[in-house]
């Protein structure tokens, strides 16, 4: 009963919020927060329930709506609800002066609702329906700002439709073969399916998830969409929506097919998982270095979203205890810190009046300290510095790769991390360190309502970094559900039998070393802050902005790597588009604009038909 309540509150809340917006803006804001808060509370309530299913028969077409809650869906549902709540809180201040707010809140709540629907639906049809609602409302919200955003939204929806159609094909095929759409029933039928059919199902369905999760050849929609969406929604997009691909892959690979079948899917040494691994590795390296040469703060984060997806893929493809745990944990971690970082980028955009080019920023550390700390913690999590949650999951993934004898994949992951370090430092440095431009001398710290989600997420990053046992326990419940070996965990990490990791020791070690470093700097600090004087060149005044040394950060390195970073996939699609346009241009010539020719076409067709009729 509680699942349908969640769905009703989620969808109904969206509509009620929209209607309330027609009455007054304040009521709408309160309702939006209340609805998302209620969702978080309700979803927290169903934690620890065993697998439960609810059956409803819809009054038309005799369709069945099956809702299902299990650890996997709970895991994703709590992420969705949590990030949804935070982004709504954040939008209260961020979106204050924007237009069409009713539409904005409605669509945001609607996307949350449909994402919840996809994770708690127990049959493939309702999964597909919620998925489509999600795609379309996401499209509407990406193109909210107009202008370039419309093109970005269009890019997204085209790719998304391709994926959805592939998924529909799978669903129809499964239904016509087995006569049911319930996931558990299909899972039991699929155990006896032939290898070819299984491969067909797996590849076709994963097309959709690969697109939504933006893995390498199909990633082109993501950077534009993330950069052009409004910041609170970018965080939802990047943290939650994109990870629905991981959920779908997990659902099809492990819940429906299971490990036994997956191990059988290989031709020679190429197996389904190895292909996915290759995709993940390419995604990591390519995205990390592309992020390095970006100059737009949100675009950097968008490319990092692409790259981090590769780690998750590398984690969950290896069905070992540590790999699976690492992958799933990375989903959670990435969601937390990327939401945080998008909030940071949004706060800066909000205060500086829409500046996203990081070359124009700098020195904001004095003006926006809270934001700076949030950004620092977020970037640390992204890089995987110990004491942040990213460290634990990346550690698990590296461990899997090394122990599983995959040196190339491990190398790719390391290279990706180096790239991450570089662009993370660039992000922090160009925005917060260095010289403060003249025009930003008087900007203020982000408003309190925007700080609140950032602080919450910052605390969470540290909390899960020091006490990784909390989320790891949930994740091991997921593994138990799909009959994979769970990872043994303690509150502070991983016990000795499963491979030692104890964050409390790391914490003390780091605290002590920090203390020592602090002492050293205290004693041996040589740098003295000086005032920058006006400077003149050939007698004329040189503006201070010209000395802004954060411009062209990593210039030699970017020059070196840029030739290798040509986005082959994107170029390929562009060429397809151009080719189609050319062909259509040629075809278009039949419209000569003269009636006689049109009549001639008709008679030509008639003659053609008669010709066929007479001779064949």
């Amino acid at each position: 009963m509680i699942l349908i309540t969640i769905l009703l509150i989620a969808f109904g809340g969206a509509f009620v919020t929209y209607l309330a917006g027609k009455i007054s803006g304040k009521l709408r804001n309160i309702l939006a927060v209340l609805v998302s808060l209620a969702l978080v509370v309700l979803i927290s309530l169903i934690y620890r329930r065993e697998i439960s299913r609810e059956y409803y028969t819809l009054p038309f077409l005799n369709l069945k709506l099956i809702l299902m809650s299990n650890p996997l869906s709970w895991f994703f549902a709590i992420i969705i609800a949590g990030i949804g709540l935070l982004s709504i809180l954040y939008s209260l201040e961020y979106m204050k002066d924007k237009e069409r707010l009713d539409y904005y809140y409605f669509t945001l709540l609607f996307i949350n609702a449909s994402m919840l629907g996809t994770v708690i639906s127990g049959d493939l049809l309702s999964f597909f329906i919620f998925w489509e609602i999600m795609s379309w409302s996401t499209y509407l919200l990406i193109s909210y700002k107009g202008g370039k955003a419309i093109a970005a939204g269009l890019k997204y929806i085209i790719m998304s439709i391709i994926g959805s159609l592939a998924m529909l094909l799978v669903i129809i095929s499964l239904y016509s073969r087995y006569g049911t759409m319930e996931i558990s029933a299909i899972a039991s039928y699929m155990q006896t399916a032939s290898i070819g059919y299984t491969l067909f199902i797996l590849i076709t369905s994963s097309l959709s998830f690969v697109i939504i999760n933006a893995f390498w050849p199909l990633h082109t929609w993501l950077p534009d969409a993330h950069a052009e969406a409004v910041s609170p929604f970018s965080s939802v997009l990047s943290a939650v929506l994109v990870r629905k691909g991981i959920y779908g892959l997990y659902l099809f690979m492990y819940v429906i097919l299971g490990l036994n079948i997956l191990n059988k899917l290989h031709v020679g040494f190429i197996s389904f998982s190895s292909v996915l691994c290759g995709i993940g590795a390419v995604t990591i390296v390519f995205a990390a270095f592309t992020a390095l040469v970006q100059e737009d703060s949100k675009r950097i984060l968008a490319w990092s979203t692409v790259g981090q997806g590769g780690y998750m893929l590398l984690g969950i493809v290896f069905a070992t205890a540590s790999g699976m745990t690492g992958g799933m944990f990375h989903v959670l971690n990435h969601c937390i810190y990327i939401a945080l970082l998008f909030f940071v980028a949004g706060a800066i955009e909000h205060r500086t009046g829409g500046i996203r080019n990081i070359n124009e920023l700098g020195g904001l550390i004095k003006r926006m300290p809270v934001t700076f700390i949030a950004a620092l913690v977020g970037i640390s999590g992204l890089i995987g510095i110990p004491l942040t949650n990213g460290f634990v999951s990346k550690w698990l993934i590296y461990k899997t790769l090394i122990l599983g004898n995959h040196p190339f994949l491990a190398f790719a992951a390391f290279v990706g991390t180096w790239g991450t370090v570089l662009y993370g430092y660039k992000f922090i440095h160009n925005i917060f360190l260095g010289q403060l431009p003249e025009k930003y001398k008087h900007i203020k710290e982000a408003p309190l309502l925007m700080q609140l989600p950032m602080i919450l997420l910052t605390v969470t990053v540290i909390l899960f970094g020091v006490l990784p046992g909390i989320p790891l326990r949930v994740i091991s419940a997921i593994q138990r559900q799909v009959a994979l070996p769970p990872l043994q965990t303690t509150l502070f990490g991983i016990p000795k039998e499963a491979g030692e990791l104890n964050m409390i020791n790391v914490l003390f070690a780091i605290l002590i070393s920090c203390f020592i470093v602090w002492l050293l700097f205290r004693r041996a600090a040589k740098s003295v802050p000086v005032q920058q004087d006006d400077s003149y060149a050939a007698g004329s005044y040189v503006p201070k902005e010209k000395y802004h040394y954060t411009v062209n950060f990593y210039n030699p390195l970017s020059k070196m790597i840029t030739p290798y970073l040509r986005d082959v996939a994107s170029l390929f699609y562009l060429n397809i588009a151009r080719g189609t346009q050319r062909v259509c241009n040629i075809i278009r010539r039949v419209y000569v604009g003269e009636v006689g020719y049109y009549a001639m076409y008709i008679v030509l067709f008639l003659a053609f038909l008669i010709f066929i009729q007479m001779f064949f």
Binding site: V603, L606, I610
Partner: protein, 224 residues
């Protein structure tokens, strides 16, 4: 070049049609549904002219649609030609006295002939469409002969609307009485007399007025 291509294409089509026509021999009895109308037409509708009974009774609803198409075409014509109205009348030469008198003499006769044709639509060849066309040609004649006596556009509109209205109302009355649209609810009378065939003469009168006003309106619009 273009002529040659069209001739070749038309030749191919022509050959195809010649082959197709072998299965439709000329003059043979190929009637299927028509037989029913011919045998039962008088009994069922009371109209002697079977074509009339088909147009207004068996396929009456189609005729309503057809009249609507006519109306829409006239409307479209009015819309397309709407715009600056030149005062052409001043530039026109007045007709000669013979023509003027002849027109004034013939005009009522033509109207009478048209009315005769559509009133006797169920007895003799002819009917609303033909009668309407004749009336419209009468108005054309009156324009050619005595342009200053031209009837104003509003009267055409009113007549035309009334015609359509009568048609629809008759249909609706039939719907309430007979159970279907345009059912023949009036007494059939004796065949081959003027007051027979139920609602058919009324409908044909309505159609005659409507078509006449419509076509006259089209001419009016084209001339203005």
């Amino acid at each position: 070049m273009r002529k040659i291509i069209s001739l070749i294409l038309l030749g191919i089509v022509c050959v195809g049609i010649i082959f197709a026509l072998y299965s439709i021999p000329f003059g043979k009895d190929k009637i299927k549904v028509g037989k029913h109308y011919i045998y039962n037409g008088i009994k069922e509708t009371g109209a002697v002219n079977i074509v009339t009974s088909v147009v207004l009774n068996y396929r009456g609803f189609d005729t309503l649609g057809e009249v609507t198409i006519l109306f829409i075409a006239a409307l479209g014509l009015g819309v397309v030609l709407y715009g600056k109205k030149k005062k052409r009348k001043e530039g026109l030469e007045p007709a000669s006295l013979v023509l003027y008198t002849g027109c004034r003499f013939l005009f009522p006769l033509i109207l009478l002939f048209g009315a005769y044709i559509f009133i006797h639509g169920h007895l003799t060849p002819g009917g609303g469409f033909q009668g309407g066309a004749i009336i419209a040609s009468g108005f054309l004649l009156s324009y050619l002969g005595c342009p200053r006596k031209w009837i104003s556009k509003e009267r055409f509109n009113i007549t035309e609307s009334l015609g359509g209205l009568v048609f629809v109302i008759m249909g609706l009355i039939g719907l309430t009485i007979g159970g279907y649209f345009l059912s023949n609810f009036l007494p059939k009378g004796i065949a081959n007399t003027l007051f027979s065939a139920g609602i058919i003469p009324i409908l044909y009168c309505a159609v005659g007025f409507k078509v006449g006003a419509e076509l006259a309106g089209i001419i009016y619009n084209m001339i203005e």
